[in-house]
Each structure stands twice: as C-alpha cells, then as structure tokens.
C-alpha cells in the first residue's frame, strides 16, 4: 500500500522531481530509465522490477511519472495515483518539461500534501487548494483564441483517448486572483468498438462513454440534465426513443438524488478536469452503423483486384480523419484509383497494409476506391488470400454520440455574477472498428 519513491523524469532521463520516504536510494532513477528505454514493444511496461524494488510508471505530457514500492502494493492504486499528472496540469496549467521545471516549488508543495510517508492523502484539487501557497508560473499566456475552435478535438486523440481541448491550458488557481473568466466545459466522449463479420453480420458493437467536466469557476454547484428517457440496464425498457446503457458509474462527488426521477446529476465540481460519469453499452446500437464497407475482390493471374465501396450513414453530420487499413498479402505492389482528389492511399510495407485516408466524409455519401495489388509471387495461393483483411477503420464523429446521450441542460447555482461561459461538446471516436472480408 505504500509508495517508496516518486519521481518525474523528462523523456531524456533528466531528474525533474524526486520524493521518497527517507530510506530509498536515488540511483534507481537511472536504473529505471535504462530499463524503460530498453523495453521492447511486446513487453508489458506496466510493472518492472529491479532487485526488490518495483516500478510502476505512466507517460504523460512527454514525461515519465514513476512510483516505486518495495511491498506488495496495488498497481491499480499506483496507476490511478499517477493520474497526479492531471492534478499537476490543473495547478500548473499544463505539463511539459518546462512547466514542471518552472513550477518545481509548487509541485513539491503539492506532493507534500498528496503523499505523506508514502500514503496517498488526497488528490482532490478542491481540498488541496486550501493548502497550497505557491503561485503557478504559466509557460504561455492564456489567449481567448484557443477557445475559438470549441467542438473540434485534437487530432492525436485516438491514442490518448482524451480530448485535450485546447482551452484547458491554464492553471486553475489563477482564476482566483484574476477574478477572470468563469467557464465550464462539459464533454461527452464516446468510443466505439465494432466487429462486422465477413457476411455483413454485426458481431459486436460496444460503446464506452464518459462525461468530463472541466471547470474554471470557484465554488459553483451545477446540475447536468441528461436525456429524460435515459435508462440503465437491460431490464428497463421504456417506450419511444430511449437512450440505453448497460452500466454506469459515477465520480464520488456526484449526487444522485434527482437522477432516478429526472436524470439530473448534481455536483460541485472541483476546479480542473474530472470524469463525472462513465458508461458502457454492449451489443446494441440505437442508430445504424456509421460505416459500411462493400468489398469486391477478384483474383486474376496478375494479382488482386479490390474494389471497395465505403458508405457513411450519418446524415446530416459528417466524419473527419477517416483512415482505412487494409492488410494485403505479403509481397504486394499497389496501384490505385480513388474517387476524389482529397483522399490518398499508400502501401505500408512493414505492416503489409494499404492505408486509405479520407479527411472529411459527409454523411449519406459513398466513396469508392479501386486497388490493384500485384504479387511478386508467381501464383496467388488460396493461403495468401487468408492474409487479406480484416479491414480496420479509425475516425472521429464530432457533435455526435453513438448512444444518443445528450445534455439537456447545464444549470449553475448560485447564479454567478457576470455570465459564466458554458460549453457542451460531443464527440465519438473509433476505438476498434473492424470489418472482416
């Protein structure tokens, strides 16, 4: 249960922050760095050990956040705790090597309150605010311009799974002094996992979603209203266009008195970012699938002829950053015909896959592509046909939730002086969208 050491390293291995229980040895920092950089891709990086020390780390903002322990501690606790990165981000306004260096006094002060003798005390920014004396030093002045593209999410969100929301780079405490802009962001983020069988049958369709609140307002309490017809579990069936999820979990601070009757979440968000609700839906989508693929594959003496028709069923909305990965037999050479010039396609030899990219795909339309793949192997065996597919898609669907979950209203109490800015944003990402052919 006990964390022996905690340190933050830059991606080059420079020591930025270090704290221990008193008995530990600092040399292990370098040992850790050697180990983590020597790690191969197929090894689980989660827990590593050196003699009787166990390292647990996460990489956030290009920094290694590492905790060590000598006891049989819980890696869950430690990984959840290393979410500390988010806390540091809230207090310092961002995490980068520079931000950490500039704010080291603040971070040490935070760590002192967060971790006492290796026991985690609290990670709630609301409580911590009362204890922290040091002012954050912002690496970049906050500009309103960053807020202008609300609703669009950053491009690398596929991996990090968290919409970074460019509005979020300012320290929470500065609002206290500046009396600055009061703002609240509520993001509904969903991730789809879909498998469509080779016969076109939907084999699996799961959605994981969460509601995140990012708050730049002291002492506010808010009510978030969800669709009234929102229901949980399989047993509850209501008439009409019900929005259904299988499972739902809430952040500790959410009060649920009004949830059962009116689907209202009541909470006093702490300043900074938090996930207030998580939910899953399995094996049932309320709307038609966003993408359907109609492949025609012909074998001819020269190689493979793949004619792909991809249909997007999202009217009136559209998808962005769509990529289609088509694994092809080893040794293929490609020629292509695409239906419009803004698309592109290339063959990635090391993954033996064709990647077809579509930057913007309007709902209700259909695109097609013709790939000719020539094999340098003389005869195409039925065995190498097995290497073809499955096709995987990645995409973003802005302003849309797959479950149909919507925020009905967002009310703040007490009524704030001035008009607080309230933003509600929706996005659905592909998590794993696979079409077998």
């Amino acid at each position: 249960m006990v964390i022996s050491q905690l340190f933050i390293l830059s991606s080059r291995g420079d020591h930025l922050i270090y704290k221990d229980r008193g008995e530990a040895d600092r040399d292990v920092i370098d040992t850790f760095y050697e180990k983590v950089t020597a790690l191969k891709g197929d090894q689980p990086p989660v827990v590593m050990n050196h003699k009787d020390l166990h390292f647990v780390h996460v990489k956030q903002g290009g920094l290694y956040w590492v905790a060590t322990t000598t006891a049989d501690s819980s890696p869950f606790t430690i990984i959840e705790f290393l979410n500390l990165a988010a806390l540091v981000k809230d207090f310092c306004g961002g995490i980068s090597e520079k931000a950490v260096q500039m704010n080291f006094a603040l971070i040490y002060e935070l760590l002192d309150e967060v971790l006492d003798h290796g026991y985690i005390q609290t990670t709630s920014s609301d409580i911590l605010k009362n204890f922290i004396q040091t002012e954050a030093v912002s690496s970049r002045t906050f500009s309103l311009f960053d807020l202008s593209n609300v609703g669009l999410f950053g491009a690398e969100t596929q991996q990090s799974k968290v919409a970074p929301g460019s509005a979020a780079t300012r320290p929470i405490q500065s609002s206290r002094e500046q009396g600055g802009k009061s703002e609240i962001f509520v993001d509904v983020i969903e991730r789809m996992s879909v498998v469509i069988g080779s016969n076109g049958v939907l084999m699996k369709a799961d959605v994981e979603g969460e509601i995140r609140v990012k708050c730049y307002m002291p002492n506010c309490s808010m009510r978030i209203g969800l669709n009234e017809e929102f229901c949980i579990g399989k047993a509850q069936v209501r008439y009409g266009a019900a929005v259904r999820v299988d499972e739902c979990s809430f952040h500790q601070m959410v009060q649920l008195e009004e949830f059962d009757s009116h689907r209202i979440l009541r909470l006093c968000p702490t300043q900074g970012e938090q996930t207030v609700m998580q939910y899953q839906l399995r094996d049932e989508l309320p709307a038609p699938l966003p993408f359907r693929l109609f492949p025609t594959i012909e074998r001819d003496p020269a190689g493979l002829l793949m004619y792909l028709k991809l249909r997007c069923d999202l009217p009136p909305k559209s998808a962005i950053n769509v990529s289609i990965f088509i694994p092809v037999p080893k040794g293929s050479v490609l020629s292509q015909e695409l239906s419009s010039p803004d698309q592109n396609a290339e063959l990635q030899q090391q993954n033996r896959a064709v990647v077809w990219r579509i930057p913007r795909f309007s709902g209700g339309t259909q695109l097609s592509a013709l790939f000719k793949s020539q094999l340098d192997v003389p005869a195409l065996s039925s065995a190498s046909m097995l290497e073809l597919g499955p096709v995987a898609l990645t995409f973003e669907l802005p302003k849309l939730t797959a479950t149909g979950l919507l925020i009905r209203f967002l009310r703040l109490t007490p009524v704030q002086p001035g008009t607080p800015q309230r933003w509600v944003r929706y996005v659905t990402h592909s998590d794993s969208y696979v079409i077998r052919i």
Partner: protein, 956 residues
C-alpha cells in the same frame, strides 16, 4: 520572472552568492534564494554547506517560505545531524502554532527527519498533535507515528503511541481513521504475531462506517484492512459483503479491485445455495468488464487479475466472453492476456464464436500473437470435445497456408489433440507428413517425431522418415533427440523385423556418442529393457497413456488461493506469492481463503476446487511442453506375462547390455561416495550393491519379489508408548526425492527416562539398501546417538522398517537456530544424506523436575522480570486439573494451585536435561478456551520452545 532560471546558474561562487541572499533582509529575496537552493538540490548539486543559513530563514511567518525551508531540511538533516538540532526549537514551537496548517506541517516534517537525536524531541509534540482538535493535524500525526516507528520502533511502543493510534480508529473524521488504519497495517506487518489491528465486529463496524465517508484513497486502506478480517460466520460475512458492494461502482479502479478482493474472500464463507450468493456473483461481473475500457496499462493489470478470478470462479464471467475478444489496436501484451482468458472461458455454449475469432487471429501480422492463437485452437479442441473436429479442420486449413510458424504451432497442438482423442483424427497424418521438411523449431520437430513414432504402424515409410532425422542426430536439441530415441524404439517394437538396424543405431548414438546424461539414461533403460524382456518392453513403451487434462497452465490450487487473497496487488500481476518478491518476506504469512460455511460437508462442486487446504489430486496428467516421455517413466512397471527366455531377435543386444552394466557404472558410484562417506567412517562396503551381478539390478524389472517381506519387519514398530507422554506424529524428514529413493520419517519420544528417536526407513528405489549409519551435527542440548543404527537386514525395494534409536545428551554442544533444530546425516550403500528436523523440547524434560515449593518461590522472585515471557494457548478445552495431569505425563510438574476469581493458577516447574530450570504460571479461566502461560527462566531463549511443548502437550 520564472523559476526556470534557478536551474541555469552553475558558476563558481554560486554558494557564496546564495549565502548572501539568504541572509538578506528582504523577504522576497530570501524566498527566491531558498528556491534557488532547492532547485540545485533537485538536480543533485550539493548545497549542504548552506544549512545554517537556510535554517535561519525558518523563523518566519510566511508560510510559503517556511514550507520551502522544511523541504530543504528533510533532505539534508541526515547528513548534518548536529545542525538539525538547531532547528528543533522552531519545530517544537511550530507544533504549538495557532494555525493548524503550521502545526501539521511541523509534525509532518519532523517525522521525515531521520535523525535519532530529533526523535527524542518529537515525542511530546507528537503526543499533543495526536489529540489535536483539528482533524488535519490528527491525520498528519497518525502518519507520523508510522514514520517514527520506522526510525525507532521501541520508542513508539514505550511511549504508548500504538494505543493512541488504535484509539484513532474510532475518530469522528474519516480521513483520520483511514490514516490510522494505514499506519497500523504497516506497523502490524513488521510484528506478525502482534495483535495490533485487533479486528472484531465493533471495529469492523466502525471501519465500514468510515468507508462511506472518506476519500477514495482512504477507502482503499480500509478495504485492504477488511480483507484481512475473518468473519465469524456466514451471516457476518454476508452483511460485510452487502456494505462493501456499493464500492464496485466507484470510478477509481483501485477501489473497485480492493472491493473485489474483499468480496472474493468473504464469498468463500457463503453457502452456495444462498440467494445472495448468486446475486453477488452477478454483481461482480460488470465492474470487472468496466476495467477493460481503461487505458492499456490498467487493462493489462486488470486482465492479469481477471485471469485469477476466472480460474477460481469461472461462473462470474461466463457470459462475458465477447469483451475479451481482442481489438486490432490492443497492444500485444493485452492481446495475449485476453487470449488466455478466452480459452479459460470457452465452453460448449460459446465455442463456435470463439473458434471463429481465433481463426481470424491466426492470420494477423504479429508472430507471437498468431502462434498463441493457433495454440489456443488446439486447447479449445482439448477442452470442448464437441468442437474437436472443427478445430482440427481449422488447423488443417492453417497448415495449408504454409506459413512456417503457423504450420509448426499447428503440429505441436495436433500432437496434444491426438493424445486427448486417440485413434480419431489419424487421417490427417498424411497432410502433416508433407510438411516435415519445413519444420525447423525443436518443439515442432519433436511433436512430429512423436506422431510418427506413435502411429508408426499406419505410416508406411515411418522408418524412412525417422531415419532422415537420425542423420543430424547430434545437431538436434535434447528434446528432439529424446523424442527420436523413443519414437524409433516404438517403431522397432511395432515392426521389429525391418528396423533392427535403426534401433541399434539410435541406441548407440544415445548411449555412446552423447554427453547428455538424460539421453544416455533413457538410452540405457531402453537397451536393458529390450535386451532382458522385449515383451515387457512392449508393455512399458507402448503402454496406454493417461489422458491429458482439459485445462492447461492452471495455477496450482494453493497458490491460486493465496493469489486470490492478494487481488489487486503486485502479486496478482506477477502471479507469484508476495514472499517471492517482497524483501526479507518478514513475517509474511501465506494468506488463505476462509473455509466455506457448513464445513461439515466437504461436498463442493468440482469447478471451484478445494476450499481450505485439502489438496486436490490432479485429475490427469497436464502435458508440459517438450516432455512427452515423462509420463512413460512414471508408469507402474507390471511384471511380464511370460518369463520365458528372451526371443533370439534381441540376443545380439544382450551382450552389449551386460558390458555396459559391468563397466563404468559402479566405479563411478564408488568415486562419488568417497568424500561424503569419510565423515561417517563407513566407506567399507560402498559400491558393493552395484558390483552385484546384473541379475540383481535387473530384478526390479522382473518382479518385486521382496515385497512380501514387509510384514516380517513390521514387528519392530508400534511398541506401545507409556500413557501420557506426548510424542508428535511422524513427519517426513527426508523425502525420497532427496534421498535417492530412501525416505525417512520420524519423531521423538521419551520412554522410561530415555529419549528415543523413532524412524521409519522406506526404500522407494529399485535396488536394495544396506549399510545404514547415522550421525548428528553438534546441537543445542548435546543430543547424540547412544548406539549404532540397528538395521540388520538389507532393505529391499518397497520395503520399510521401523527403527528406534536411543539418544544421549552428552554429545558436543552448539547453539542452533531454532534452538531445537537437529541436523542429521544418514548413510547407506548409495550415498550420504543430510536433513534437519526439530525435536519437541519436552523430550528433554527430566523426571526429577519437580521443584520444592520454597525453592520455587525464591527462584521465581530471583529471576529478573525481563526474563519473563508470556504466551497464549488458544482453543484449549481442558479443566485445570486435566491440564495438570496431562502436563505431568510429559514431566511438567504442578507444584501449587491457586484460585482467584474463578481463575485457576497453576505453578509449575520443568527441568531440562542440561540442568536448566523453567518456572511456569499457567492461568486457566473456567469456560475460556484461552490459556495464558507465563514462563520464567534464567536462560530465556528456551521459553519459546518450552511454550511450543506446552501447546503441543495440551492439544494432544
């Protein structure tokens, strides 16, 4: 102006400049200077020279500056202990500050300064802070007790801080409770026997109340603490489960896992027919599934835990197969774990779905994953019989791809399928043989060779195929060599006429041209078998193989139970018990699951395994990779049906076998035993057993003739013991594995004033054992054999003999650890074996151990109180009189008895064989099953042993 500039100054004179700035009058300047100092400290520069100047800044009312100075102090106090004392006064003063933040800060920082001198000053402020009116200060002080305990455990006990800490469990503030629990849990770990965290229904209730109110991290501390509690009955168990279940929907995965751990453990106590049991099972699935939507790091850790849970209670997730289907963008380590769980959950109901998935996986890009997927198809075939046919045809499809590693994996798993369903799928052998040339991995080659050998009679050109392997025999790995040897012997036994040359070739390659002892041994065994009795050989080598079990790679049940108790911790990720990786494994107790309710009936559904420690015999052999023949050698050797002269076909081999036996073997054994035997002075007849004519060595193969002799020698055993004297049951001291077939079990007894070492020697080897001798190492009480070990007749295979060896107490003395440890060497014609055993110290209690009353009183007073040791004996349901007479039987004499307030106090004395007196006070409360023993002795180190004897005697 930003902090980053602090990192840039590296010039000389820097320390000098800082010194000046630290002593500046301006507060801002001071603060900046301290920040610079700490920045240098962080990057590893030595700024300890500034210690006095920084400490001077400590007395300030600026909280930010104070915090910075404290930070510096923590780091350098250790290297400057004398200077650190300078800071003590400020600390003590700050502990009295009206601002609770400062009080807490001071007590927190003081605890972090690991300097002995400071700890003396810490006690008083700490005591005050533990009772502070502000919960923030109390919770900080609670942690400080743990810090102080780390530095000086004795001090913490002496000052009574532990009791205060226990009181804090009932604090009104949940944060304080959580920290007190955390601190106590850690301190209790270093005192495994202490009753620090005395969990009873009242404290549990308090903890459960605090659970609802405290932070997520506090909840983890409390849940982990709850997991160590053993409820009294299934009702209590259920009520705790009911109050813990809401934690399953917490957003923090660590809270969820800690709750799962508590529930998995307490569920053991619930009767399975209870409605609530079913409800609970249903509630456990969703949170586990939810964990899989976390980031890959957490997913991996979660999957490792789910793997354990699925092995223990597959019913929880049996409907959730789909969530374990891999996503194309999962990292490989997540994919592999998911695959493993998919196999464990595979059943007749979902096999079609699983198989369809696996087939898709088998054509992916990643080699490791594809291999494992192919292997998984084979495991499905073995697990779900109805699917076997479909699995085999899937595997054949995959072999057609000719992708090298796919083919090889497929062949390895098809071999297992053949073993599970013999004579069913042999039609595919032809397809397999086509791929013979492409196999380059030892495992696949070995599997293919096994298949050819096993089905030699159906493969026309089996001899050619095997011969082709034989050409490069010496370049093959051991695995392949062993397999080839066995396969050719099988072939020979099936088609003796055509393959005689081949078998001779392989036998000579294995025995004469190889340096590998395993290969040579196996070669010799076959050679001897074939030369003595080919009929027997046929029965042995071609015997029906035991079926392989359905589940592979299962974690052994006792380890699994222990790991279930450690769900959510590192142990559950490594799949190793904590003792295997936690330093010193100090007082690590192997945790066990509590027994199920209604313990009378041991009828448990087989899928859940044994509840509490009754080890299940594995239902069938689990195939371990690369050792197909292991089971062959373990088969019972049945006597041959005919014992006529060997058929002429093998007579040519007979000669060779003789030669081999007469040759190097016995001289080899003789050499080996010399240095070892010298010590015992009995090297005389060494090697004699092996010099015997080959007939003798061959004997075990023909028939265990001497089996019937057992009864004759049994006479010596079972001599009745005098009533009362306690002698523990025999335990195995030397297992046959370590004794080259000799098993020794034994115990100690005291009869008529003589200590007897009673042993059962069992010969589990195949040859006769003779020339036994015994010797002891020096030990704490000078125990030594009073005569030679009386084993008059040779010990035949499968025979055992009871020996009683009288012991004297006049041998050389050396203090052992533990005190009653005895190291023994036993020699026979084969080797010298060493083992150690522990004797109950009650064997040393002499008959004239009754002390005079007056002497007793005087001695009791005379022995200093420091030498007093107190123990508790639990669950003892004897009256004081019965206890007294029972103890008397083992020479523990009651001198006086006193009754105060319904509590009997027996005063007792014991004399050890070396003249040490032990005085005892035994307190027995009528109706209370807990006895208290107070021992006083001039040599207090014996107390622990004497207490163990007390407990053993009273409980038997």
């Amino acid at each position: 102006m930003t902090d980053s500039k602090y990192f840039t100054t590296t010039k000389k004179g820097e320390i000098f400049e800082l010194k000046a700035e630290l002593n500046s009058d301006k507060k801002e300047k001071k603060k900046e200077a301290v920040k610079k100092v700490i920045a240098s400290m962080t990057v590893g520069k030595d700024v300890s020279a500034l210690f006095p100047d920084v400490v001077n800044c400590m007395q300030t009312d600026n909280l930010e500056l104070k915090k910075l100075v404290y930070l510096y102090l923590m780091n350098y106090a250790k290297s400057q202990p004398d200077m650190a004392i300078m800071a003590v006064n400020t600390f003590v003063k700050d502990c009295e500050d009206p601002n609770p933040l400062i009080r807490a800060l001071a007590v927190r920082t003081m605890g972090c300064i690991r300097v002995d001198k400071i700890t003396e000053y810490l006690c008083e402020p700490l005591r005050k802070c533990l009772k502070d009116e502000d919960p923030y200060v109390r919770k900080t002080a609670a942690v400080c007790v743990a810090k102080l305990h780390d530095i000086n455990a004795q001090l913490v006990e002496d000052q009574g801080f532990l009791d205060t800490l226990k009181d804090l469990i009932s604090d009104s503030n949940p944060m304080v409770v959580a920290n007190a629990v955390a601190a106590l849990s850690e301190i209790a770990e270093s005192h495994p026997n202490s009753n620090l965290l005395d969990l009873n229904p009242q404290t549990i209730n308090k903890l459960l109340t605090a659970l609802n109110e405290c932070t997520e991290w506090g909840q983890i501390f409390i849940l982990d603490c709850l997991a160590n509690y053993t409820p009294r009955d299934d009702r209590e168990s259920q009520s705790i489960c009911e109050r813990v279940t809401p934690r399953l929907s917490h957003a923090n995965s660590a809270v969820v896992l800690s709750a799962v751990k508590v529930l998995m453990k307490f569920m053991e106590m619930l009767p399975k027919d209870l409605d609530y049991y079913g409800t609970l099972l249903k509630k456990l699935a969703p949170p586990l599934v939810t964990l899989l939507s976390a980031e890959p790091e957490l997913q991996y850790v979660a999957l490792r835990n789910i793997n354990l849970i699925v092995q223990r209670r597959p019913e929880i997730l049996k409907h959730e197969m789909k969530v374990f289907f891999v996503k194309y963008n999962d990292p490989i380590y997540v994919k592999l774990e998911k695959l493993d769980i998919m196999i464990r959950l595979a059943s007749q109901a979902n096999i079609a779905q699983v198989l369809a998935e696996l087939k898709e996986y088998a054509t992916e890009v990643d080699v490791d994953f594809v291999r494992k997927a192919v292997r998984a198809i084979g495991r499905c075939a073995i697990k779900v019989e109805q699917s076997a046919e479909r699995c085999v045809s899937t595997l054949l499809d995959l072999i057609q791809t000719k992708v090298n590693y796919v083919v090889q994996e497929a062949i390895v798993v098809i071999k297992d399928i053949f073993r599970k369903y013999p004579n069913k799928y042999e039609s595919v052998i032809a397809t397999l043989c086509e791929n013979l040339d492409s196999l380059d991995e030892p495992e696949a080659r070995a599997a293919m060779i096994w298949i050819v050998g096993e089905y030699a009679e159906r493969i026309d050109n089996a001899d050619e195929l095997l011969e082709s392997f034989l050409e490069g025999f010496h370049d093959e790995s051991t695995q392949v060599q062993l397999q080839l040897l066995t396969a050719i012997v099988k072939l020979f036994l099936k088609k003796p006429t055509e393959t005689q040359e081949l078998v001779q070739q392989v036998l000579s390659l294995a025995t004469q041209d190889s340096d590998n002892p395993d290969l040579r041994d196996r070669g010799y065994i076959y050679w001897r078998l074939l030369s003595t009795d080919p009929v027997a050989a046929k029965e042995v080598v071609l015997a029906e193989k035991p079926l392989i079990s359905e589940e592979t790679d299962l974690i052994e049940p006792t380890l699994l139970e222990e790991l279930i108790c450690h769900i959510g911790t590192l142990a559950s990720v490594y799949h190793k018990p904590p003792s295997a990786f936690v330093e010193g494994s100090r007082g690590v107790q192997h945790k066990r699951l509590p027994g199920s309710a209604g313990s009378g009936e041991s009828v448990e559904s087989p899928d859940t395994g044994s509840a509490a420690g009754v080890p299940d015999a594995p239902p069938a052999v689990i195939p371990s990779q690369g050792d197909l023949l292991g089971d062959l050698l373990n088969l019972d050797l049945t006597p041959p049906a005919t014992s006529g002269p060997p058929p002429p076909a093998t007579s040519g081999l007979q000669l060779g076998a003789m030669d081999l036996l007469g040759g190097g073997l016995d001289s080899l054994m003789g050499d080996e035993s010399e240095p070892l035997g010298g010590d015992l002075g009995g090297g005389s007849a060494m090697g004699a057993g092996f010099g015997a004519p080959p007939a003798a060595t061959a004997a075990p193969f023909s028939a265990p003739v001497s089996g019937g002799l057992d009864d004759l020698f049994d006479l010596g055993g079972g001599v009745g013991m005098p009533m009362g004297a306690y002698s523990p049951p025999k335990t195995v001291w030397l297992p046959a594995m370590k004794g080259k077939g000799l098993e020794i079990s034994g115990t100690f007894a005291r009869r008529g004033g003589v200590i007897q070492m009673e042993m059962t020697l069992t010969n589990k080897a195949m040859s006769v054992m003779t020339d036994f001798a015994i010797q002891f190492n020096r030990n704490s009480f000078g125990l030594a054999p009073a005569g030679p070990l009386q084993v008059l007749t040779p010990l035949s295979p499968n025979q055992s003999i009871e020996v009683s060896l009288p012991l004297s107490t006049v041998g050389p003395v050396m203090k052992m650890d533990p005190l009653n440890n005895l190291q023994v060497a036993v020699k026979n014609n084969i080797d010298v074996f060493y083992f150690s055993c522990q004797y109950p110290i009650s064997m040393l209690f002499v008959e004239d151990g009754k002390m005079e009353r007056q002497v007793f009183l005087a001695t009791w007073k005379d022995i200093p109180n420091d030498n007093e040791a107190q123990f508790q004996i639990k669950d003892c349901h004897l009256s004081s009189d019965a206890a007294s007479s029972k103890l008397q039987g083992s020479n523990i004499f009651t001198i006086a008895k006193r009754t105060v307030d319904g509590q009997d106090m027996l005063y007792q004395s014991v004399k050890l064989s070396n003249g040490i007196w032990v005085l005892a006070e035994l307190r027995v409360q009528t109706g209370n099953p807990i006895f208290t023993v107070c021992l006083k002795c001039r040599a207090p180190e014996v107390s622990q042993c004497v207490f163990q004897s007390y407990e053993a005697v009273l409980k038997n």
